[in-house]
């Protein structure tokens, strides 16, 4: 056989193999109108330009280490109570009173996320695709803190890594009543927690489609949520639900995020899904999840001052006012989410 014919044969075999594989996947992922996905990446949506000049023209915030150096240059003449514990008290008993440091919030106009309230207000962001009215005040708070920025921010790395590593965090979505993954005007979405490790490739780093997860109906029963949605041009959009509890243990402390008015916008394929999970995060829960899992040392590695960040979160909180004080208790947010197809057993 000549080289050309051999090449043609190889191409034909490869194409046939590819089609067969694709067809098999397509045939096997959506079964009886049902398809499941498991979350493999989850982190706060942070719109970044290359040099950060657009969103953070005045640079990045100081962290605990820098703040300590500025506050206590003569620490050797001071006591633990006057220095270390003073900082820890402010971390664990945060207030909205101003501190000695100017907080650098995001100043750009662009942000990932969704229009949560259906309105376009002056302080809303614009989506990079031009859609106005994006509500994402968590981004405004954390966007100029290097620990929350990819690819090497400490929170960006470790909070996300924990999503894969910790079964406690194993949240899944299951679509049922699905006629087509391209267009379907009514589907049911169930969120629950899986119990099992993820199926990965031989490196252990890449999560593979086709794994199996059992639903945690015992410890995870209170995490189960159901919602309605539709699929248009392979994009799933759900109706908001009252709340979603996201189990999120980063460094060994089982904790949660509470997202009110939670909704999903995901691009679906047979093997994966990606998009955003958005809503209003309960501020105190958000903050406690951060500082319970990450000590001041860990926060220092990302120049994250819990003391300053809490004040910003409260300042930019934009929903769910406390009936007595009128202060908002929740803050608009968006999380970038990626999912991998998985077979969910019941």
């Amino acid at each position: 056989m000549g080289n050309f014919k051999r090449l043609l044969t190889l191409v034909a075999v490869a194409a046939a193999t590819s089609m067969t594989s694709s067809s098999l996947t397509a045939a096997s992922s959506l079964r009886d109108g049902t398809i499941g996905y498991v979350i493999t990446d989850l982190f706060w949506s942070v719109y970044q330009t290359e040099d950060a000049k657009q969103e953070c023209p005045r640079g990045f915030n100081d962290g605990p280490r820098e703040q300590f150096a500025k506050l206590y240059p003569n620490y050797k003449d001071m006591s633990v109570e006057e220095t270390q514990l003073r900082q820890e008290i402010q971390t664990w008993h945060p207030t909205t009173e101003p501190d000695e440091f100017e907080f650098l919030a995001v100043e750009g106009d662009l942000s990932w996320g969704l229009n949560l309230d259906g309105k376009t207000a002056p302080n809303d962001f614009t989506h990079p695709d031009g859609t106005p009215g994006v509500d994402n005040e968590v981004y405004r708070s954390v966007g100029c803190i290097i620990g929350f920025r990819g690819p090497d921010g400490v929170e960006y790395i470790f909070q996300n890594k924990a999503i894969v590593d910790e079964r406690y965090n194993r949240m899944m979505i299951e679509l049922s009543d699905v006629d087509s993954l391209e267009n379907d005007d009514s589907v049911t979405i169930t969120m629950s927690r899986g119990m099992d490790r993820l199926l990965t490739d031989a490196t252990g780093a890449q999560v593979m489609a086709g794994g199996t997860q059992r639903v945690d109906t015992r410890w995870g029963k209170s995490l189960i949520r159901q919602m309605q949605g539709s699929i248009k041009d392979s994009v799933l959009t759900t109706e908001p639900i009252d709340d979603l509890i996201i189990p999120w243990m980063n460094l060994g402390v089982p904790s949660i995020h509470l997202i009110r008015d939670m909704r999903l916008q995901l691009t679906l394929t047979q093997d994966s899904a990606s998009g955003v999970l958005a809503g209003y995060a309960d501020v105190d829960t958000w903050y406690k999840q951060l500082i319970r899992n990450d000590s001041t040392h860990h926060l220092s590695n990302g120049q994250i001052s819990g003391i300053s960040l809490y004040k910003a979160l409260r300042k930019f909180a934009d929903a769910y006012p406390n009936p007595e004080s009128g202060e908002n208790t929740a803050i608009s947010t968006s999380l970038d989410v990626k999912l991998t197809q998985v077979f969910i057993t019941h």
Partner: protein
């Protein structure tokens, strides 16, 4: 607390039972057994100086103690964020000088900050008296003698200098430290020493909150089945797809609490306390408990945990089961260790309360009572006998033990001599919002929940 009888206090060779040599391929081990010993967990007899003996404990297995019944502790070197603390082999570091500044071992705070309450601060040896060796003391086996800075001699075990704890009051007390594991950011803790647990090769035992848990040396928990007996098994056929018998070597022989079941010709299985042992294929974590969800199956302990107070409850959370008070509120232990070279703990009512008050109430004791309420004992409630739980009297203004007759004193539950707490923001049963509250995820100046069962982070360990 239980202790060995006088006869059994001396670990004499005649107390040894039969000696079993397994094959050279699996190593050799010696069973030591004496039916007069009231230990819950048997141990391997090793050569020991006459001034030391073995004491039974309620949750830490057998420990070595001196002639006064005081448990012996070591202070192993522990890697912290900015260096090491504890003692390198053969090198005592605990002396009678009172330290005055922080060590800077835990970032981001630097070294050289003045430690709190210097006017009443104690030295390392005030809390941890060294176990000194007499002039005629002779090293034996793993027991050696090291020299302190002043030329005095100190006993060491496996080259770790030995101390007693001023917290221990009675023989078998282990109030200075525990054999339970501690996290990497915890202080360099003192841990009790003891003889090796009497186990065949291929097994391991760990202290957990719920008992001394038995596993294979690959960290797979072992289980027993209610329907099995020492000489017969009900787990056959399909059962074996989920439960794997723990195999015994061909030349292994029965000894004491351990025996052998020959499931089929030539196929032997280890039996402990008349129950054949298995591992569970669906355990996804080391030292797992998931197999107990299957009716009839139980984890195996060499020593079970002592009784809990009657009023306590168990509550389900999204993580697992947690210990709770009568109202279902999660109960927390307070951990505290200073950033000093001597790593003194600060979690006891007799130590400085500066750290705790800062965390629980920003320095205000009144706020502490709201944010971290003590777990108060009910009016007529009594502590269970032979328990690590006690009811103590606390001065709520200071956090220290109350003096007798103190009018405002609170009767609160204490675990291992330290008060336990609730967390003010836990609103309902199953809330565990206080876990990890405080410095270093609750490991150095903060709260950790007491887990009875979890499938996600080995919380019982």
């Amino acid at each position: 607390m239980k202790s060995l009888s006088n006869t059994a206090r001396k670990t004499k060779p005649q107390l040894l039972g039969l000696i079993l040599l397994v094959t050279a391929a699996v190593g050799s081990f010696v069973f030591a057994e004496d039916n007069s010993i009231t230990l819950k967990e048997n141990f391997r007899d090793i050569p020991t100086p006459p001034e030391f003996h073995v004491e039974a404990t309620l949750l830490d297995g057998p420990v070595f103690a001196n002639n006064n019944g005081k448990t012996l502790y070591k202070w192993s070197q522990h890697k912290l964020r900015n260096g090491y603390s504890g003692e390198a082999a053969g090198t005592p570091q605990c002396y009678d000088n009172v330290l005055t500044v922080t060590a800077g071992l835990m970032s981001p705070y630097p070294a050289g900050i003045k430690l709190p309450e210097l006017d009443s601060r104690v030295s390392c040896t005030d809390l941890w008296p060294p176990v000194l060796a007499g002039d005629n003391a002779d090293p034996v086996g793993a027991w050696t003698i090291v020299e302190r800075q002043d030329g005095s001699k100190q006993w060491a075990f496996d080259e770790h200098p030995l101390y007693t704890s001023v917290r221990d009051r009675s023989p078998g007390d282990v109030l200075g430290g525990t054999t339970r594991r501690f996290g990497g950011d915890s202080p360099a803790k003192r841990t009790p020493i003891g003889p090796p647990t009497l186990l065949p090769p291929g097994f391991a035992v760990r202290s957990t909150f719920i008992g001394r848990l038995l596993a294979t040396d690959k960290n797979n928990s072992v289980y027993s089945f209610d329907q099995d007996t020492a000489t017969s098994t009900a787990c056959t056929d399909e059962c074996l797809s989920k439960w794997q018998p723990v195999p015994a070597p061909g030349l292994a022989r029965a000894q004491g609490e351990w025996s052998i079941l020959e499931r089929s010709p030539g196929v032997k299985q280890w039996v402990f306390r008349d129950k054949p042992l298995y591992t569970y294929v669906l355990d996804q974590r080391s030292w797992g408990l998931r197999g107990t969800d299957v009716p009839g199956w139980k984890n195996v302990f060499t020593q079970v945990a002592p009784a809990l107070p009657d009023s306590f409850t168990t509550q389900a959370t999204i993580q697992g089961n947690v210990l709770a008070d009568a109202n279902g509120k999660t109960i927390y232990i307070y951990n505290c260790g200073e950033d000093s070279i001597d790593q003194l703990s600060c979690n006891h009512p007799e130590t400085t309360q500066v750290y705790r008050l800062a965390m629980c109430g920003a320095g205000d004791p009144e706020k502490c009572l709201t944010h971290w309420p003590y777990v108060q004992a009910q009016a007529n409630e009594k502590a269970p006998s032979e328990s690590l739980w006690a009811i103590v009297s606390i001065n709520p203004k200071t956090g220290r033990f109350a003096s007798p007759g103190h009018a405002d004193a609170l009767r609160v539950w204490a675990y291992r001599d330290r008060p336990v707490y609730l967390y003010g923001d836990d609103e309902q049963s199953g809330d565990v919002h206080g876990g990890g509250i405080g410095e270093w995820r609750g490991q150095r100046n903060g709260l950790r929940a007491i887990w009875l069962r979890d499938d996600y982070m080995s919380g019982i360990l």
